[in-house]
Symmetry: D2
Subunit: 279 residues, 4 copies
């Protein structure tokens, strides 16, 4: 049955209205701005619990944190694994924040399904089709990051692998692409947000942390993502960025993040009005 019949499942032709669903009490898609935040990697119980409580207090919606890290070098810290998942689950218990975390192979995906609320498939695995299909047979929403050289159409075809296995809940995420430009690690392609909204009913988030690399610029790009109409943002927050085990320079400190959240909400409400006008 590997034949394309009619419109692709991810396309607006197959489904005109926005896909929208809830994770815990958080509604994703369909209008509002979802703020997902947390540390790059789960490092300790103290770290993840203190971040989660802080995030809860300033109004974040979802908790992110890596237990399994896909690492370019075999010699880098790969995360706490199953132990990290258990710590995330404890943070959810303590705060009520649903947990988003990354799976890097079938084994970690199964564990994520037991302990998390949304399973992330990272940019480097965007075309790991075996993993996509496995996630499509699971029950958790899939947070699918755009590969660093993937076109929008390729991202949608990767989503199609998930949808085609029976799981309709996919969240797309722009996280920066590879270009010649050197002032940032990746070039955040914000114009993919309105382009995706024309092409698909799936919600699209933006993660400015890895691309931008410096926390001050991350805030500017998060505001820009909200203004561009993103369904959500994913941000790295660390209680003490200078001590982070990975990617500390791009993590926001708590005070800066608290201000950012209120500005994000203000921009999202202007944007909602804008969208209605534009229609």
């Amino acid at each position: 049955v590997a034949v394309e019949r009619g419109a692709r499942l991810a396309s607006r032709d197959a489904r005109a209205e926005d896909t929208s669903f809830t994770v815990g009490t958080v509604r994703i898609g369909g209008g509002g701005l979802v703020v997902c935040a947390g540390p790059c990697a789960v490092e300790s119980e103290e770290q993840i619990l203190s971040v989660a409580r802080f995030l809860r207090g300033v109004g974040a919606d979802l908790l992110r944190g890596g237990a399994y890290k896909p690492r370019t070098s075999p010699y880098s810290f790969r995360g706490l694994g199953r132990e990290g998942l258990l710590l995330l689950a404890r943070a959810r218990e303590a705060t009520g924040l649903p947990v988003v975390t990354e799976a890097i192979d079938e084994e970690s995906l199964e564990l994520c399904e037991q302990h998390a609320d949304v399973v992330q498939i990272g940019a480097r695995n965007m075309q790991n089709f075996a993993l996509l299909r496995r996630a499509g047979r699971g029950k958790l929403p899939v947070f699918l990051k755009r590969g660093m050289s993937a076109t929008l159409d390729e991202l949608l075809l990767s989503a199609e692998h998930v949808l085609n296995e029976g799981n309709p809940r996919v969240i797309l995420c722009e996280r920066g692409i590879r270009t010649f430009s050197t002032h940032s690690r990746y070039t955040l392609d914000l114009s993919v947000v309105p382009a995706a909204q024309e092409a698909t009913h799936l919600p699209i988030f933006v993660d400015p942390s890895h691309a931008t690399g410096k926390s001050r610029r991350v805030a500017s790009m998060a505001l820009a993502a909200a203004a561009a109409g993103a369904a959500g943002v994913m941000l790295e927050v660390h209680p003490r960025p200078g001590e982070a085990m990975s990617d500390g320079s791009q993590a926001m400190a708590p005070a800066a993040f608290a201000s950012l959240v209120s500005e994000l909400r203000a921009i999202a409400s202007i944007r909602t009005t804008a969208t209605e006008t534009l229609r």
Copy 2:
């Protein structure tokens, strides 16, 4: 004597505070959001006067319009030339809006200096060093667009050619870069806005029209630029986009533009607060 001594003139090291100056009564740099709008090309007196009056009415700050068009193909419409400059000057008389227009060689630059208020050097001429130096010996502010494969550092070095000849009033402008990505004509690199603000005291604008190519996406990216902290936006507006002699699909119609301006102002005011908090 062509030797680099000390800090480059465009750098924050040479000048810590933001460069700010007025064009007519419009202040550029130093905090507010400047809205520069108009048609891609001046086509007729009726067209440019009606656009200018409309723009004045909805609160735009500067009038843009091309009299000299650098065209990839020798067979495309190259603009009305000197006649176009005279029509722009008439639109300024009628509305008070200062005029921004592009020079493509020394001859057109001299004419621009006689009839316009800001002279634009386009992306394709960003490394036309003879033209840059000539603009540096002139008296008008220079609106310098980033080349489609220029790094931020190369853009700043092109500005340096102008500054080094004695003209301190340069406005930088992001207009999209060449990447593999196919959903838009160019990839608008909004993260260059905070990066430029760290590196230079010169104001940086964003022109989302050419990169994004479709008017609905242009509006989203203009809002994103304002949220990212740009000093201004440059937008294509045409009284009847479907009849434009060039680039009609990316031009905004008057009604959509009027809504956009008020949303831009609202986001700029949130962003101003955000910037103060981030400092």
Copy 3:
């Protein structure tokens, strides 16, 4: 023990002399030019046997053919799977040509190890670290293709994942990168060949078929790869390109391929002299 100590295993610092090994009777690395050819996908016994016999006759060294195809769309032909591997093994029996074929997950990798001589990890899986480590615990040489947006350093770090698990036999392969350029599907980055030779002792091949997309251009780029000093080329050959089940336009027809092989050999012998002179 996930700590980088001293030189990376793939680097020239860790091993100055070229890595060289045999697959069947074919020596890979250390000077000669290896010609690996065959169809994109194994389609039938008749197809693969006739191609293999032809290749044997014109002096190719290795037989390639896909049994498991990583497909961007879930609706595309995914290959014959295990059946395809058995057909490849039969072609090897008939001709003596060692077989190179792609694994896309742990399951297919195990089957490849049983039936093939070299296991390929494709561009889309270059950072599928679980698969790399699994291949590093296996016994077959690994043919590792550069991801379409991977830097040379990232390619070498992916090789490091294999080496670090105990398998020293890795062949690198350039297959084209993502750029703005539109005249070809990918931009073949031939200058990575001398760059890799400086950085690593591992052999580097070039596959011009997917990047170039048209068989006439494929031949030119194969000759260029040989002149650039590549350790081998991988080429698509199909008995009747117009009837191929995938990627027919880039497959070479037998007659053109036969001429190409003799030109490749001639250039490789000039190149060998050149390399000795350059040292």
Copy 4:
């Protein structure tokens, strides 16, 4: 009359057979491989005369050398100007080698026309349409380098500006494009050679020096260009690379260049046979 009628002048549709012409006694286009070499910049009479005599001795065809250098920074060495042109003319007198040199504006173009044999328009000026049209009204062949983010079609449209003014002698040149790849300064896009040969009758050269940046890699890429079927190569040679006033690391020393020329000739003769076979 700015209307595209029928086939573009640069296209194969407008002219099926290869454009071929002589510069001095050197035939360009139509089959052979032209070797153009010399220093990045003319520095002194002793330097340019000694290089030219050496090049003559080892069989180079054309002498290159910069008198006017377009420099990214206003503080870099800009060349000897008119004095450099006079030194190049003296080197031609002494050796008979025709001279290729770059013009950067109308003034330098007029001087080049008086003193040189081929006028180069560099990558940064590929879309300086005023300069292109001026060169199209001149009598010298135009050596037109591809911009670092120009598509093949844009390069051909820039050539069209020259042809359309009445000058039919244009040489195209690939010199590397901007990509994410970091192992070289630019990515040499050799596959543009067969692509250009399909699209246009104009000859296409390759300049591997700036892209590759290191002299040892330059030699590999020059050989690859010859194998790809380029009509010529442009190479930087300096009598003492370590003392060059600009770009010394990419300049070849005389001994290495002498070996390279004979290998280039050997590959070109194989390639000629290959082309005939491919037809």
